[in-house]
Amino acid sequence: MSQNSPGNTVRLGLFTVLGVGFLLGLLYLMGRQQNLFGRSLVVRADFRNVSGLLTGNSVRLGGIAVGNVKAIDLLNDSTVRVSMSLSTDAQGFVRQNAVAAIGTDGLVGNTIINLTAQAAPAPPVQSGDVLRTKTPLALDAMLGTLDISNKNLVAITRSLRQMTAKLDTSALWQLLNDQQLPAHVRQSLGHVAAASAQLQRAATDAAQLTQGVRQGRGPLGYLLTDKALPAQLGHAGRQLASTTDTLAATVAGLRHQLLAGRGPAHTLLADTTAARQVRQSLRSVQQSTQKLDQSMTALQHNFLLRGYFKKQAKQKARAAADSVAHPGPPRPGS
């Protein structure tokens, strides 16, 4: 009950002033934002479609709010007259030839009116002027175009997908994708190189041998004096045999590899270094076999060795059958 000390009354007054002041301040600022208090002039523009424009929506010139929509009236079935109130501050900048267009504030924002200044000189707008309008880039039209683009994009991606699917299952892709193939090829070529080196050494030995025979040391004497020769010869023969075996296996492997790779062209395509090695090896193989051929021919022509060669062939057959038994040195003169 009545206990109104002056202090309480002052506090109550302050409280009320603050509350009401906040409301009035809010309303004033809102009104200023919407140009309710400044002096303004009204201009008009006729549109075919205002895309849901509402009274109070802002009018912008160069992106800056210069007024707001005062009224929207249907003049006839295809004309909408929009009255805009522009602040007098902006009057000097809005020319009579300015073009009004309906736009949106962001993709989902309010509908607004954009005023665009034209290059040609014109006097500032006066109250009651009717501005030219521009058909806006309507959002639904944009979306229509976007729809067509989308359909095209779908078709493109579909064929792209088919292409990649085919590529995925093709032999070329598998070959390209096989990461072990180059290693295999390189390994095989290494084998080939080693084999041909051995072959070459053997051939050199044979050549030295025949040279010694030819140099008139007397084949019999030679054979008698040099006891290592038959062993060397046997060894060389064995080496040659195993080498040729390895060579055969390697060539078979290489052939298999190349066949799996479907044609040597791909291998060469895949690894040019390997191809070069192959070519080099093959060349040395060719050279050594040529030399071997010559040596062999020479040996075969030598009567002393003819018998040996026959026996050698037999021994080779036996060695192939029984690898445990060490072949003894060929008896001279047999």
């Binding site: 309480n8 109550l12 603050l18 509350g19 809010l26 600022l29």
Partner: protein, 252 residues
């Protein structure tokens, strides 16, 4: 509570309201008491309403933020919070707080005055107790709830600004412009107008409950309790009516 008693209660409250208008606008006016009640209802409720308003704005902002960031609409947070606070949250929460604090105190005060014959004593002392006790209190809540709501608006918006700046950075100017750019008179004025009705309902109901309390001490507790319950319910019902009316008038 059966339908009949509910209707009877509504009828007596309506008659009570009629008596308020009949007696309230006839002199003599209890200015002193009205001022004191305004002080008690308004100023003394400010700390409570201010704290709830502050927390409400802060919590709303912080809760809203993750969702808005997900939609890439971070710059809409001030608008969303501002609209929610001014249109709904602040009026409702202020209404509930006043219904709780002031409603219970009016209900208890008047009913205890009734029980201890203080109301009769006033009558005998040449004072119309209806004018002195009821009219002043109903007027005080009617006038002070809007002021409290506005202050709660201001505090809530400020705390929303604090909340926005806790995880991001916005200048006060930009924050204010964001809110002002989206607010319309059609959103603000109905929200302010409805708080008058909130205050009137709270004052009327708690005075009614207290003034016609049953003549025993248990009646005091019952009056305070039912004043709060009925007052809070009335705030929500009026809010529903307000949103329906403003939708019908296109003021959303």
């Amino acid at each position: 509570m059966s339908v009949t008693t509910l209707l009877a209660e509504t009828g007596t409250i309506t008659r009570f309201a009629g008596r308020f208008f009949r007696e309230g606008f006839r002199p003599r006016y209890e200015w002193q008491e009205l001022l004191y009640q305004c002080y008690a209802v308004g100023y003394q409720s400010l700390p409570l309403v201010g704290i709830t308003g502050f927390i409400m704005g802060l919590v709303l902002t912080l809760r809203l933020r993750p969702t808005m960031v997900q939609f890439g609409a971070e710059s809409w947070i001030p608008v969303m919070v501002g609209l929610t606070i001014i249109q709904e949250l602040s009026p409702i929460i202020t209404g509930l707080m006043v219904a709780g604090k002031v409603g219970s105190s009016i209900g208890a005060e008047l009913s205890s005055m009734r029980v201890t014959e203080q109301i009769d004593a006033m009558d005998v002392s040449g004072t119309n107790p209806f004018k002195y006790l009821v009219v002043t209190r109903v007027l005080a809540t009617t006038l002070m709830v809007p002021v409290l709501t506005l202050l709660s608006d201001a505090i809530g918006l400020f705390s929303a600004y604090v909340g926005v700046n806790m995880q991001g950075s916005t200048s006060l100017m930009l924050f204010v412009n964001h809110i002002l750019g989206r607010l319309t008179y059609g959103q603000v004025l109905p929200a302010v107008a409805k708080t008058f009705f909130f205050g009137f309902a709270i004052g009327l109901i708690s005075c009614y409950k207290g003034y016609y309390a049953s003549n025993d001490t248990a009646g005091v507790g019952r009056a305070a309790n039912s004043a709060v319950v009925a007052g809070s319910l009335a705030v929500f019902l009026l809010d529903l009516v307000a949103v329906l009316v403003s939708t019908a008038l296109g003021l959303i």
